[in-house]
């Protein structure tokens, strides 16, 4: 990290998206993470995805918990409101925010400590409610900010920096989410931006809870030999199953259909996500199949990545609750005040 602030002057020649914005408009404050931290790569993939989707930053709300990962929302989409809440409790902030204003987009950023230990309950229940948001776990197998303790995603036998082996078996957020009925589940790698950007775009376009578990090495505490969340180990053991190819509503669809694609799913907003099958045995719309596939590869020490499960037909929280299409926060008080007459009518029953 250098302490010299980047000038915020937009070069006139920079490419602009449909919203008339350049990539620079999707940047945030300067990162204070360690040089080489996987989380910074994820931030840049997020900027790229939103830029490509031409979503205005201020129509997005960014929420996070506490941790190195949870600091990152400050470092992208500076034009979006952000909420760096308390450790492990971001899902409830996101759920409440979404309840208040369904018209914004929500991006939740969390860490493996934040989501799988202290925040496990809230994470699971946000899935159960199918809150319409993109939820990222920046998964490094350790607690970065508190200096490298194992997290619940650390693999059994994975080595700490000082050599100690982790004795517990890991909680795999992807398996957990699918078994809890999550409707969009993917896994990416911060070191593989090419695949990450379309995954993020697909997740954004999903109506409901979209989980992305992103392996994101901690260069300071968990990138050594013996770690199973290092850059080297992830590269060597990653097994891509399905490559998501996102097609926006606005684009000509035909031009993007590629050979080898075997499934195309229309998203709620009219966009399409295409699956380019990498492994013939895998179908990301088959829930039980996806579970056994991921489980069995995990048993072999492989990390299955790609778009792992997608179910676009279900209802997000507001459908389930029957909420008005207008955001709660936008309803004028006249619509909310039942008036003096109703109060009289109600009180008549209390006599």
């Amino acid at each position: 990290m250098s302490f010299i602030k980047k000038p915020k002057i937009t070069h006139p020649g920079l490419p602009r998206n449909a919203a008339g914005l350049t990539l620079r408009d999707y940047e945030g404050a300067m990162s204070t993470l360690c040089a080489g931290c996987g989380h910074d790569s994820i931030s840049s993939a997020i900027m790229q995805a939103y830029f490509e989707l031409a979503i205005e930053p201020h129509r997005v709300a960014k929420v996070s918990g506490i941790g190195c990962s949870s600091k990152t929302p400050t470092y992208f989409l500076g034009g979006a409101h952000g909420f760096n809440s308390v450790h492990g409790r971001m899902p409830s902030i996101a759920t409440g925010a979404n309840a208040a204003n369904r018209e914004l987009q929500y991006i939740g950023v969390s860490g493996d400590g934040d989501s799988l230990s202290i925040g496990l309950g809230q994470f699971a229940h946000a899935i159960r409610r199918n809150v319409n948001m993109m939820y990222l776990i920046e998964n490094n197998g350790v607690y970065g900010l508190t200096k490298g303790q194992f997290s619940a995603s650390a693999d059994r036998g994975s080595k700490a920096k000082k050599g100690e082996a982790n004795p517990y078996s890991p909680i795999d957020p992807v398996l957990l989410a699918i078994s809890l009925g999550c409707t969009f589940v993917g896994r990416g790698f911060s070191g593989d931006k090419e695949h990450l950007v379309p995954l993020i775009k697909s997740a954004i376009s999903h109506s409901g809870f979209a989980l992305l578990d992103i392996i994101s090495p901690c260069v300071t505490f968990n990138d050594h030999e013996g770690s199973t969340k290092s850059y080297a180990h992830t590269r060597a053991h990653m097994r891509e199953t399905v490559h998501a190819d996102y097609t926006s509503v606005h684009e000509e669809i035909v031009s993007h259909v590629e050979p080898g694609e075997f499934k195309k799913i229309q998203m709620h907003d009219g966009s399409r996500v295409g699956f380019k099958r990498v492994d013939e045995n895998f179908d990301p719309t088959d829930r039980i199949g996806a579970i056994s596939y991921i489980e069995s590869h995990r048993a072999k020490g492989e990390v299955v990545t790609g778009l792992l499960y997608l179910e676009e037909s279900t209802s997000e929280m507001h459908h389930v609750l029957g909420s008005s299409e207008t955001a709660m926060s936008e309803l004028p008080y006249e619509k909310l005040n039942p008036g003096a007459q109703n109060l009289e009518r109600i009180q008549a029953r209390w006599r």
Partner: protein, 608 residues
């Protein structure tokens, strides 16, 4: 007391087993008296289980309109053999004790200072009704019937009430009337009806309603324009949210679209409940939650965040007996300290102290207004007594010209017209900054955080920048003190007002204090001025009142004198000036308790 004095002036207590359907019989009794124009209140003492444990319902009939517990029982309806013994002991001398004489009970007659009445309620009902359920339920209706005769209840009123309830179900109407008649007939035939405790129609309930505070609080939130609630079930707060939901279903479904103009989310726990409330408030909705003590403990981390990051929120704490799980179905005012200072570090919260269901309604609007104006959580400290018991209150009035006070929020236009927006600047000198809502304009974007931030809203670890914000927050509390509801001060009309002692209290102690003051004056012991505090931080009047007297009695319902502590600490008042008067056994404080405590204290003072 003379017989005359007991007309429209006594306490009936019904001892029962929960899950046996006595609630509707007791409601019928209450409402009948109310419809006769006689002031009445009902207090429900129920167990923390669902079926099979002792439960009591205490009805106070008071021609003078006293709504508190008096501390006496004039007439015990003993329907639970398990508690016969203690129920018998509870009856005040000269009182009555009615029991189910289907089975002979030995040792029932130890007391010769009361009158025991036996009615074979089970026997009668077993004979008269077919189904097992009816046999059990109708016992309760039958004692109401007996009371019709014994207390001189207007039979026409009873019939009307039954008609309103069972009008559409004639067979139920019939069964109920049959049970009523059975009880009435037995009483008329066997006892000298009416008893010296009896009812005579009055006109003192016109313009009044019977309702509990959780219902009015939930309704108050609807009128305040709350749209989002998230909560986790916990006694005694659950019925507050139930009320909000039910009223929303009635009043807030869009007639055109059939969609809900509200959002009720049952959270997975209290941490999530308050989290959702913060998320929603941050995003511009009026959102609230309700809980009780254990929930406040669990919410405390998030409450600290809301204080420091300045997020509005409304939290109803319907207090129950603590510490820990305590007695969930008994009342206390025990969360004053834990609510005022909820969370670690230098944190303070605005509190409102409703005294009755009327306050619960109006303070709901005040709570949301204050929360948004001050950008901080507002905790409404109600309690089980207010929230779940049946109070007689004047009909609630609503002014349709009410406009929610949303506080300082820059809209899009304001943002476009300014150079830069900074979240935590004290622009107006009142220590309240301006905020913006997500989604409005990129210029309004800022980052909410519970970690160190400076007045611009940026992250900081610099001592002076941190201090700047935290010092403004302290000043914001001074602003708050000037905005919260002022205390209600009731000076004794007596000209030679006593400057030696006065009473200070909060919330649901109000009724008992009002009666106690009348009794103390009547008996010549003391004529006491009285201040009911309605909010924390304390308005200036609070200190001024206290400093006017040598000593004040601080009446509250907890063991550790929490209000006294708050007064002394926040107003720098010598604690020795504040004499604690503490009722904390889980029963709503009675006027007897206060009269006795004051009397004892004053006599000690005179002796010393």
């Amino acid at each position: 007391m003379s017989n005359k004095a007991k007309t429209n002036n006594f306490v009936v207590k019904i001892a029962n087993v929960n899950g046996t359907g006595s609630a509707s019989a007791n409601g019928l009794l209450m409402k009948s008296i109310f419809r006769m124009g006689i002031p009445v209140t009902g207090k429900n003492f129920f167990p923390s289980n669902i079926q099979g444990l002792p439960t009591w319902y205490e009805i106070r009939v008071s021609k003078d309109g006293y709504l508190c517990r008096s501390g006496k029982v004039d007439f015990m309806i003993a329907m639970n053999a398990e508690t016969y013994e203690s129920d018998l002991a509870d009856v005040s001398p000269g009182g009555f004790f009615l029991y189910d004489s289907t089975w002979a009970r030995k040792g029932m007659m130890q007391r010769d200072d009361i009158t025991v009445l036996g009615i074979p309620l089970s026997g009668m009902c077993n004979e008269a009704f077919e189904s097992a359920r009816a046999k059990v339920l109708m016992k309760n209706v039958a004692y109401v019937g007996a009371l019709v005769a014994l207390l001189n209840i207007d039979m026409g009123v009873v019939e009307t009430l039954l008609n309103e309830t069972f009008g559409s179900k004639p067979h139920l109407m019939e069964a109920n009337m049959q049970a009523i008649k059975m009880g009435q007939t037995f009483a008329l035939e066997n006892f000298d009806c009416p008893l010296p405790l009896k009812l005579e129609p009055m006109d003192k309930t016109a313009g009044h309603v019977l309702v509990d505070g959780n219902t009015t609080a939930g309704l108050g939130a609807v009128y305040a324009g709350a749209t989002v609630t998230s909560w986790y079930p916990i006694t005694p707060s659950t019925s507050l949210i139930d009320a909000f939901s039910i009223f929303c279903k009635q009043l807030r479904v869009d007639p055109d679209t059939g969609k809900n103009n509200y959002c009720v989310i049952q959270a997975e726990d209290e941490l999530a409940a308050i989290g959702m409330v913060l998320g929603a408030n941050w995003n511009g909705a009026r959102a609230f939650t309700a809980t009780s003590g254990p929930g406040v403990s669990l919410m405390s981390e998030f409450l600290g965040l809301a204080y420091y990051a300045e997020i509005p929120a409304v939290l109803y704490d319907v207090q129950r007996v603590s510490p820990s799980t305590g007695m969930p179905t008994r009342t206390q005012q025990c969360d004053i300290i834990s609510a005022a200072y909820a969370s670690h570090g230098d944190t303070k919260h605005v509190l409102l102290f409703p005294a009755d269901p009327t306050d619960c309604f109006h303070m709901s609007q005040q709570a949301f207004d204050l929360a948004e104006q001050l950008q901080t959580p507002v905790i409404v400290l109600t309690d089980l007594d207010i929230g779940m018991n049946d109070w007689m209150i004047p009909e609630i009035e609503w002014d349709d010209s009410y406009v929610p006070a949303r506080g300082k929020v820059y809209d899009r236009e304001a943002l476009r017209n300014m150079d830069n927006f900074y979240r935590y600047l004290d622009v107006d000198g009142d220590a309240i900054p301006w905020r913006t809502l997500p989604g409005v304009d990129p210029k309004g974007a800022y980052f909410v955080r519970g970690s160190g931030h400076n007045k611009f809203g940026g992250y900081t670890e610099k001592s002076d920048e941190y201090k700047d914000v935290i010092d403004r927050l302290r000043r914001k509390f001074d602003t708050a003190a000037s905005m919260v509801p002022a205390p209600v001060i009731d000076k004794a009309t007596d000209a030679k007002a006593n400057k030696q002692w006065a009473i200070v209290s909060i919330g649901s102690c109000d009724g008992a204090i009002r009666e106690a003051r009348d009794r103390l004056t009547a008996s010549g012991i003391a004529t006491l001025d009285y201040m009911r505090i309605r909010a924390f931080p304390f308005a200036d009047d609070v200190a001024n009142f206290i400093l006017d007297y040598d000593h004040v009695f601080v009446v509250e319902q907890n063991r550790d004198a929490q209000l006294r502590q708050l007064l002394s600490n926040e107003l720098s008042i010598d604690p020795n000036r504040l004499i604690p008067m503490l009722s904390y056994d889980g029963m709503p404080v009675s006027s007897d308790f206060i009269v006795d405590a004051v009397e004892e204290h004053i006599q000690q003072g005179r002796a010393a």
